[in-house]
Amino acid sequence: MLQTFVQIVLVGLAVGAAYALVALGYTLIWNAVSLVNFAQGDLVMLGAFVSVGWLANRLGMPLWLNLVTMLVILGLFGAALAWGIYHPLRNAPQLSAIVATLGLSMALQNIAVIVWGPQPLNFAGPLGTTSVHLFGSTIYAQYLVILAALAVMMAIQHGLFQHTALGRAMRATAQDAEAARLMGIPTARIIAFIFAYATMLAALAGWLVAPLSYVSSDMGVNLSLRAFAATILGGFGSIPGALVGGLIFGVIESAGSFYISSEYIDVIAFGVLIAVLMFRPQGIFGELELERP
């Protein structure tokens, strides 16, 4: 029983880690420009397709070079999104930019089918179908790769945000873009960098989860929905909240499916989300906004 429990929790944490990476993207963009990027899940898909459909299958690029190249390509694509979608609409009603991201989402899914075809692509990942034995239970090694990747990314992000001028400029822009601009920070460029970084996080999530299932045009849809729920659970706008919310949501799904019912897993997972929000509307790490009467 303990072995099964370990398996369930580890799988939940790994799946939750993927949610967390996407949720971080939502949070960073929201903090910087008050925009919910509904195409975030499709950037998961795009990262996986670029890596598997182009760099691996067509160019035969070695795995780690493939990963780095894909992240660079997607980072540039993210920056292009900031210039191509956010900037032209930054003074328009907020709804316009949100609708633009929804349109982008649909466009990316259909472009993926046109470019890479409708058949799902297989991706073995760094360790293929290797399983490891841990505490007497069998774990698919890719789950551990995902957890390790999240830990590494968080360490890199901490270093970037706390110890570099670029990171400080990103934090300043996220806290108050207007004040940051008045302090001489080139906010337009920093916003483009935030979009690029958020896109790279989503693309990394796609690269990490692809070996668990497959690469397809709709692979980001479910992931982004859950990542969005995780963002709310953790506290909208909170970076630790996105991380913890993702992990908790993953474990709830995994444990709920095993111990309660797979038939009602969405009811269970989203029921917990509703329950948390009833008692703590700002989410786990969110701050309650008080308005003066």
């Binding site: 409708p118 399983s131 397809s216």
Partner: protein
């Protein structure tokens, strides 16, 4: 001038009055050369788009063959396509409505998926358009529509035969069930449960998933913990592939059997080594040495180099052939004429099987049980209802 004008007006009025009498002849001649439109409602985008592509390929070959011979009664056949997104009731309803009302097709191939065909059953009667579908959910023909013709084995028969095989031939005693939570999965697994119950077996565990489910670890572990001999799963191609792949990764020891999905190329591609040993009830494998299957393989490979015919292309090729045969036999090339002619078909030689209409709309009455070995499904049993 006035007089001339009056004369002209009178002539015009006379001409207009006489025109309707002449119209049928003119329209009749025009219609004789007009193409006959048949429609495909299939998934052309999204997760199931590959299956839609195969549907299109199979129909295209049949239509080309007919057109190369001069068409039907001097009229060529034209194919109109609408994207129904697969098991999506809303999109499928829109696709069929568009094909019937805007494109004015006289017969339909698809929708393929049970959730896609169900909302269309009343629409097909309303538009008087016969539909040949591969949807296997028993619920599809339970409504007794005269406009739905099923060209694959009804799950009500197939699921029962599969249960008989695993219980009697493989001696499974403790059985777990899995299904995709759609009308297709629900109706298929209901037949499996009824069939098990008939043999005094209660499933030890029942698990549901959706087409969007990507991680089956907890479900596989639950089956393992329940100590099942095997699981019977009624689902779509992608979930089937993931269940087999992840069961292999987790070192699961139980057997896996299911609907046709567990023998199809998408399943084989996704499951990898996990596909080996999986069993399926189905109708078609392209390794069948039967002469018709082998010549179909050559014909398909010539039309689509690099691709191989699988169930979707083959069964919808047969469906298009059935429509063409019905059009040739029909008194009038209309929805009603084709519907009447289809009900008269009894022993039509297709590639998948010999088709024959029975009162409930079923046209397929035999199937095969396959087992995957070294990545290829092999026929282990041929069965007939």
């Amino acid at each position: 001038m006035v007089s001339a004008l009056r004369f002209s007006r009178r002539s015009l009025v006379k001409g207009l009055a006489v025109a309707p009498l002449a119209m049928p002849a003119i329209v009749g001649r025009a219609r004789a050369a007009d193409p006959i439109r048949i429609g495909i409602s299939g998934p052309m985008t999204g997760q199931f788009a590959q299956n839609g592509q195969w549907m299109k390929n199979g129909v295209a070959i049949a239509v080309k063959q007919a057109n190369d011979k001069g068409g039907i009664k001097g009229r060529l056949i034209e194919v109109r396509i609408a994207d129904d997104l697969g098991p999506n009731p809303t999109a499928a309803g829109n696709a069929v409505t568009k094909l019937a009302t805007q494109d004015e097709v006289v017969a339909l191939v698809g929708p393929h998926y049970t959730p896609g065909i169900l909302p269309n059953v009343p629409l097909l009667a309303k538009y008087k358009v016969p539909c040949l579908t591969g949807a296997t959910g028993p619920v599809v023909t339970q409504q007794g529509s005269a406009w739905v013709f099923r060209v694959r084995l009804n799950d009500a028969i197939g699921a029962d035969l599969l249960v008989k095989y695993v219980v009697e031939d493989l001696q499974w005693k403790k059985i777990g069930l899995g299904y995709v939570n759609t009308a297709f999965g629900q109706s298929g697994i209901a037949v499996v449960k009824a069939s098990l119950s008939k043999r005094s077996i209660e499933p030890v565990l029942v698990q549901a998933h959706t087409d969007a489910t990507k991680d089956y670890t907890s479900q596989i572990l639950a089956f393992q913990q329940a100590g099942v001999d095997g699981i019977i799963v009624w689902t779509d191609d992608q979930p089937a592939g993931l269940i087999a792949k992840q069961s292999k990764t987790l070192g699961a020891k139980f057997g896996i059997a299911g609907n046709t999905a567990f023998s199809q190329p998408i399943f084989l591609g996704l499951a990898g080594e996990g596909a080996d040993g999986c069993m399926a009830i189905g109708e078609f494998v392209n390794d069948n040495p039967d002469e018709r299957v082998q010549s179909w393989k050559k014909l398909y490979a010539a039309a689509y180099p690099g691709d191989e015919p699988e169930l979707y292309a083959t069964v919808y090729h047969d469906a298009a052939k059935l429509i063409i045969a019905a059009m040739e036999r029909a008194e009038t090339i209309s929805g009603e004429g084709i519907q009447q002619a289809l009900t008269a078909i009894r022993d039509f030689p297709g590639i998948v099987t010999r088709y024959g209409w029975t009162g409930n709309g079923d046209m397929t009455h035999s199937g095969i049980i396959t087992r995957v070995a070294a990545g290829k499904p092999e026929i282990v049993k041929v069965i007939s209802s």
